[in-house]
Subunit: 247 residues, 6 copies
């Protein structure tokens, strides 16, 4: 199921019929308690679970993403946030899609784990489908697939702040507790947030306007159980969408 | 105030101290009642009003933007929607910022009139500030500056659907009635909207999933008065933000 | 006729049959008496007049052009002269041509208002026609279409210096007096010119070799009437050429 | 030690002093018995072992590499061989180096697991050191560090064919048996090789000239023990070289 | 004097003080009587003669140039006309200038032998001088340096048609008779020319509008003696300009 | 046979049937005794001899190559070593191949004279054959075609060090004595070599690790006779390979 674990015989026998997942992550600060590879790990894990349900193949996760923005990831100033330029990200994704198409792949899922990647995956997908015949690309933002009940569950006792600022906070911390508890620094979990939600962007950013922990909302509301419930809620929904699109 | 109307003497005498506005528009379908240049016209007009308040200079509006997306502008399939590739848009903005910096400009406002431009203006602004010393760029999304009361006023009698799908609908139609009533086809104003709000993107898009008029929400709720009130509400707010950032 | 003023319905109904004009201007010093947007304004106005005669559609004028050269526009050192790199200009034009082709346009006129743009429009047109089937591009340099009599008329009492150095001088000042007299600073009109016509180029240029006013020839010979006569002379000729080429 | 497992605090505290390893792999056919991700897995594992010895940090392995060549990897025609264009690979590596430099990293090791990557890593390293002050990059091809005795040990009973064609053969199979025996299809291990060693390249390649299994030499000579001995031989040598270069 | 004939010791000892000539040619049809390499040969020969006078160094001539245009070289449709894209030409020249600067060169002459190259050499020179400190580039179009008397001499008995269309005609044929008579097919020398001088450009060009021989003016007026007189006239003038600019 | 010496008529009559050779050289230090243009001269001369045997056409040699590496050419620090960036070299070769294809060429030989060019010629050839139908490219590294006897002959009395470090040494000096004895500084011929053969690369390179003469092996073992024997040995072999590939 993981393309990197398959031999070329196994890959050859499945690529034409299978839905091909390309997870895209980032290397980005996720507060004092989550590792820099959080987006990459979650995108890869969730893509694998979804692929399992639909008999898909999962390509290696792209481990670097587009530049973090202050209002959705804390921004580029945090040490460790290691990003690609727009043009680079577009071409990595485009090259991988075109190569897989060359081998016979026609049904693609861009499975994104990093908010700032969206428009560059969009550009890559658009350039791709205009360069070939008969391929289709589904771009999934799994946060958009959560049911309203699941969102209420996640933010019970507080309120939903919008997905942009839900960074290194309830959702990602819960998911990391579920998938990789050994990588969560339990004693460093803190709540964070903007004094004032940013309504404009400044370049270069003013560091004093950014939560210094890198946590943009309330990580203390996270739990392994929430992570598990989220996965149980959203993975079937991803599979459903894949089937809606690719039949 | 419009750079294109100034002589080089006049420009020279003001560029170093002034805030420089660069409006960025698009050529994109805006339903059967609004012209393709709606975003360009509105970005230019609003930038001029804001610049007037802060003694700024307004560069010529970039009249083409990034590719329209189905869920926020109807998508590329509508005739007339004429877009630039990501890389092109980034470099147009970057070149203009660097040239103006060369002449002494240090305080820049990217005034955006097209939802899909945001991340590419972000890339241009990031590349720019990393290529020079002492310049700052403010990127304004004016919808984020409206007061909650103003939003309620605009959508009175219906509900606010989110800015992404507020395309060719209440806000833009009201503003066009205010700024350029002669370009509004009054007898073609219709309500539109998605049967089901899109929660994922597919490339190439499925035309049957997109409102066929190109109107993504309720244009019949628009009025010239709402346009006027919006402008009176938001322009001072833009000026305020400019002063917050550039002192 | 202006694409930006059309709705997408109107555009759709005409794009396949119409000749599509893309005016390309610049933001460049034009002496102490003409505005920085002179090339953009003239290219747009003249394209509209020509399009009217042939039932064409006029796309938004690209408001920035290639770098000004000392011997034909005074060069890049004049404040306000705000240019694009070669690659950027090529791709803006190429993207717009390809998008319009996608909507069904097949007959294109690149209507140029800035001397230095020519070879980059050439590259864009060449890349474009080699990337599609069945499109043709006419690139018009209107100065080449003036009758000999018209040139004599324009330069009566002095002599024709060559179009390269006719910058901010007789022709452009006359045309601006005709199209936008309110933008002409009458009391700042001066004659300028090179002490010695440049026979080579140096990078970076020697500012002392460039007329300090930015006027490269005799602007005082300009008049609104000459502007009007020029327009009456050249617009029918442009229309004639369009018909010659596109039938 | 893995950057992706560190929090930003941990990364910040070590990045300036540490040697930073960037492993670069590929997704490439490795015969009927080894997985497509062999180069990626080996580069990552070996970089981690070497980093451990010198207190280094290991960035996420880039999981796609340059195009496979017939004479060194079987070529692009094998299903599953999923490569990046030259320009894309150069920019991925360049972006990651520049970002890590921005955080304070100065000592870099490009740890390569795919023969065809070398010259593109060279270009990235060259562009990088010319774009910053005070950084150094060591590019390691671990095959060049093996002692002559180790090479004799590996190829005992047969002969050393040159590293270019030692693909999916003795060395890589031995290392995979050591690092990831569960991914080695034991019953599919075969010997392969060129009927005639290629002395020129043809584009597109002639498939009949390429060993159809994708194994370019004698995989049956591999053993877990050889893999272990190789690692014990080469990792200290890598650490030695790192110390030679960075002190 | 030819850099390619120097050893690195010799080059090292002269590069800092010398004027460095970079000739740029083309591979372009030059009628039935002149070879495809005419521009390359002439640019190289003339640059060497000029360099001799000023103690300069001549880099290898770039043997491919920008795309031939119908009105100045017959256009791309003639077999053998083998051109580079704009971006490629710009980067070849830019790379060579930057490398020579790295070795200590500060005084550069772009010596152009192909009409269509000018604006791309301009872009390369502009990017170059803006990327380094203290370098200057002189771009020479030798036709602009001919005295009026020399032009009259060349076109005696006919008239000067403008340099753009003087292609494969009097001047180039005379120079080739002087420099490389063995490459001139004497019995194939013909006069050519446009039925109607082109006043606009069409893409793709209409072959029927282009002189079918590829000769754009009167080659039969050429003579070895004219070639010799031209060289005696223009080389000292080039040297003079070099001294004017670099002292 | 040299394309640059042909008229367009002659080229047109042969291009479709002929094998087209594109030699690629460099401008690179070759010790105190050989000129900077050694690779360019040898690639061109050998390509012409091979083309003669197969009735081929030889395009102008590209006179600049990819960046010299310390272990194979001494590296970029030697004055005179004047290289192109990877992307530039790829596009020069790609443009020339595509243009020649446009004229009907289908059988191409990339004849390389500079070790460091190989992977960039590979990229150009790959992009080329994937952009057209029915073309084939043979890339020849003539050192790979020498018989074992010839290699023994060349290095008689010493030993063969590997082709990478055979730079400015036995082979190239012998060939230059054969082709251009007037360019060989006889009294400056020295032996050189690495104290320790490099087993890794460092950027920027450590100058003290590089032979200061620029000669990487034993140039004193060279002779005109060896050059002649090599040519007599290898040119027929090149012709043989060309016939093997193109029939």
């Amino acid at each position: 199921m993981r393309a990197s674990d398959m031999t070329w015989h196994e890959y050859r026998d499945r690529v034409k019929e299978s839905v091909i997942f390309l997870p895209v992550g980032s290397m980005e600060q996720h507060g004092p308690h989550l590792p820099l590879g959080t987006d990459t790990l979650l995108a890869g894990q969730m893509a694998e679970l979804a692929a399992e349900r639909v008999g898909g193949i999962v390509l290696p996760t792209i481990p670097f993403g587009y530049k973090s923005q202050p209002s959705s990831g804390g921004g580029q100033l945090f040490p460790g946030t290691t990003s690609m330029n727009a043009d680079t990200l577009v071409h990595v994704v485009l090259d991988v899609l075109q190569e897989t198409y060359r081998h016979g792949g026609r049904k693609f899922v861009l499975f994104n784990g990093h908010y700032e990647n969206v428009m560059f995956l969009t550009e890559a997908a658009d350039l791709f489908v205009n360069s070939v015949e008969g391929a289709r690309v589904l771009m999934v933002d799994w946060t958009a697939l959560l049911t309203e009940e699941m969102v209420q569950d996640l933010f019970e006792g507080t309120e939903f702040p919008g997905w942009d600022v839900e960074h290194a906070a309830v959702t990602e911390t819960s998911l990391m507790k579920y998938f990789a508890p050994e990588l969560v620094r339990e004693n460093k979990i803190v709540d964070g947030g903007f004094a004032r939600k940013p309504v404009y962007a400044v370049f270069p950013p003013d560091p004093s306007s950014i939560p210094s922990s890198g946590v943009l909302y309330k990580a203390t509301f996270a739990s392994r159980e929430k992570g598990e419930r989220l996965i149980k809620n959203v993975i079937p929904r991803v599979a459903e969408v894949v089937q809606e699109v690719f039949g």
